[in-house]
């Protein structure tokens, strides 16, 4: 009896403690800081809403935020649209090479994000692979992909594509394609098989993939710093600057809270907007 109790406490308490220590505490600290002020690189312990006021009224921050939001939505939607055919192809036609394909997807993760961004900078920059080749052929370089939002967009796609493909791949590999057969025997054409059966039954996996791209894109700071150029500042990058060069930590903390809330809202909309049972989600068990 004693033992079982101890075991249960261990199973419950350790993760709870872990969550408290590394997730709730920092978040609480962040929230608290966001209601204080920073003056001359010092924290002033005075409760105020000024940081949020600044974020809500100053044009630059609003622009950064909207730019981040549009970027995150655009990137995630594009990624889902790209990943579906890739994952579908691997699952349906990969045969016994499926394992190799799925491992190939993971290879980019083996190097760090910074390294990959520098490589990408080399590809997209003024003297990079693409524009260098264009110039050598006597053509004008593509300005669009040099230090611009388009460059950031390409970078996000490049960074998160393996992640989203892998998520959707895992969803599809567990999908029973005989259900597609059943639909087709019921008179469904390919389009309806997809919309009525394949898509809804892989929606939860797709949403996870979407969120895995959406959240880091929304708060990204490295990508715009390396590739975004003068008009490419994103919210997360600006936030990083508050903690770094400008030393306005309290404002940075408020930006962090805004990002957290937005990611949480996006998650809530997607998970409450979707009736899990209608996605064939079986984690609910028999009820």
């Amino acid at each position: 009896m004693q033992d079982a109790n101890l075991q249960r406490r261990l199973i419950l308490d350790i993760p709870t403690g872990f969550l408290l220590l590394f997730f709730v505490m920092p978040l609480a600290a962040l929230v608290t800081l966001s209601f204080w002020q920073t003056e001359n690189y010092k924290i002033v312990h005075e409760w105020t809403l000024m940081n949020y006021g600044t974020l809500a009224t100053e044009r630059a921050y609003i622009t950064f935020f909207l730019r981040s939001l549009v970027m995150a939505i655009g990137v995630s939607v594009t990624l889902v649209a790209l990943s579906w055919p890739i994952a579908y192809f691997i699952v349906r036609y990969g045969g016994r090479y499926r394992i190799i394909f799925s491992l190939l997807l993971v290879i980019p993760f083996l190097s760090g994000e910074v390294l990959r961004l520098i490589a990408l900078q080399g590809m997209l920059g003024p003297a990079g692979l693409v524009n260098g080749a264009l110039i050598r052929m006597g053509a004008a370089p593509l300005r669009m992909i040099m230090y611009s939002n388009a460059a950031s967009f390409i970078a996000f796609i490049y960074l998160y594509l393996p992640l989203v493909v892998t998520t959707i791949y895992l969803s599809l590999i567990n999908f029973d394609f005989r259900l597609a057969h059943a639909a087709s025997a019921c008179g469904a054409n390919r389009f309806r098989i997809f919309t009525e059966v394949v898509w809804p039954l892989n929606l939860s996996g797709t949403i996870v993939g979407f969120m895995l791209a959406f959240i880091p894109t929304l708060s990204a700071s490295l990508v715009p710093r390396f590739l975004g150029g003068p008009n490419g500042t994103l919210y997360g990058m600006s936030m990083a600057q508050q903690f770094g060069e400008s030393g306005t930590w309290a404002l940075g903390a408020a930006m962090g809270v805004v990002l957290f809330l937005f990611s949480a809202i996006a998650l809530a909309i997607l998970s409450y907007g979707v009736d899990l049972r209608r996605t064939g989600f079986t984690g609910l068990g028999r009820q």
Binding site: S184, G187, A188
Partner: protein
């Protein structure tokens, strides 16, 4: 294609998986309004054949025609079929109602029509109280009924049923057998009914196709398949029977059992050479049991048990050589008592005789 009377023509169809032949050169003509049962043991290729007819799979060789039109390459949804899957394959994200409505929606039926049909099919399958549940909230038998309903609901031009009653209890199964049969007559379309249950095949179908190891062993009216099996496999598989080994005697006209002291005359239509080893199959209900005192001929045996099976009595007999034989007789008020010594015999015209090893020779 030349044969206009056949509604569905399966022409020398084979399906290979690598070197393995799941179906081997099967030809079958099915006419409109026919109820045909595909009977065979597990792994014999029944589901494979259905999948080919449905278009879910392509034959390695051979063609399939519907009403004279070659449909071998035609997509399943253009074939106008209904299908009930052995594994149910209900849509887990849709309620029972939506599962039943699915084939109707795919055929773009009007809303009112869809509702009416779903009500109808839910009625005959006793599913009306669970229309709003999800498949995961149903028992196996209930899921099977939904699968059956989804196949029946849309008035297809051909219905393929893969063991649609396997998970139902006996009472419900008999009810469904009658219901399916009635529906088939009402629709006037062919039903292809896969089963490994010979009673189901015998009670429902017009014709039976027996397949074994991917090959068509027999095809014919159910009575003919039952009474005149053309191969040892069919003799063994259709109906319940006992097998004996025997040798054709030098006169070429009588057979003597190898293990028992019993001889009987060869039926005149059976031609064997003297000395041929033969297999003899006797249906359980075709045995004659006579009392030892009557002084007839037969295999000396002892009654070990008497089992009551509805209107029949099942005598479990043990021959003096130690083999167990089951003989079925109509119920009587004075059954032969247990431990009684009896003689077991049969009318030579009622047994099926094949040359020994005939099954292997055909492979």
């Amino acid at each position: 294609m030349s044969n206009t009377s056949s509604y569905i023509r399966i022409d020398k169809v084979s399906r290979r998986y690598g070197a393995f032949k799941a179906l081997d050169d099967v030809s079958l003509d099915i006419s409109k309004e026919e109820f045909i049962a595909i009977l065979g043991p597990s792994g014999s290729g029944k589901s494979t054949l259905l999948r080919l007819i449905a278009g879910l799979d392509r034959p390695t060789e051979g063609r399939i025609h519907f009403e004279g039109k070659d449909v071998t390459e035609l997509a399943p949804h253009k074939r106008g079929i209904g299908m009930v899957f052995q594994e149910f394959l209900l849509f887990p994200h849709r309620t029972v109602r939506e599962n039943l409505a699915f084939p109707l929606r795919m055929r773009n039926e009007a809303k009112a029509e869809i509702e009416e049909r779903v009500e109808w099919v839910a009625g005959i399958l006793s599913l009306s109280t669970m229309l709003d549940r999800y498949p995961s909230q149903l028992s196996g038998g209930q899921q099977q009924r939904v699968a059956l309903g989804r196949g029946l609901v849309a008035r297809p031009t051909l219905l393929l049923l893969d063991e649609p009653l396997a998970n139902l209890d006996r009472e419900l199964r008999q009810e469904m057998e009658i219901e399916i049969r009635r529906y088939q007559k009402q629709l006037g379309i062919p039903f292809i009914y896969v089963t490994h249950n010979q009673e189901e095949a015998l009670s429902m179908s017009d014709r039976i196709a027996v397949i074994n190891n991917g090959r068509l062993e027999a095809l014919g009216e159910r009575q003919a398949i039952y009474d005149h099996p053309q191969t040892p496999f069919v003799a063994r598989f259709v109906g319940k029977s006992s097998k004996f080994q025997g040798v054709v005697q030098p006169d070429g006209a009588t057979v003597r059992l190898a293990r028992h002291d019993y001889e009987f005359a060869l039926p005149p239509d059976k031609k064997f050479n003297p000395g041929d080893a033969v297999e003899i199959f006797v249906k359980n209900e075709r045995f004659d049991i006579s009392s030892k005192q009557d002084g007839g001929v037969g295999i000396p045996s002892t009654v070990v048990d008497v089992v009551l099976r509805g209107p029949f009595l099942e005598y479990v007999l043990e021959t003096d050589r130690g083999d167990t034989v089951i003989a079925v007789k109509p119920k009587r008020n004075d059954p032969i008592p247990i431990r009684e010594r009896v003689l077991l015999s049969w009318n030579p015209a009622d047994c099926h005789i094949f040359k020994d090893g005939a099954d292997d020779a055909r492979r």
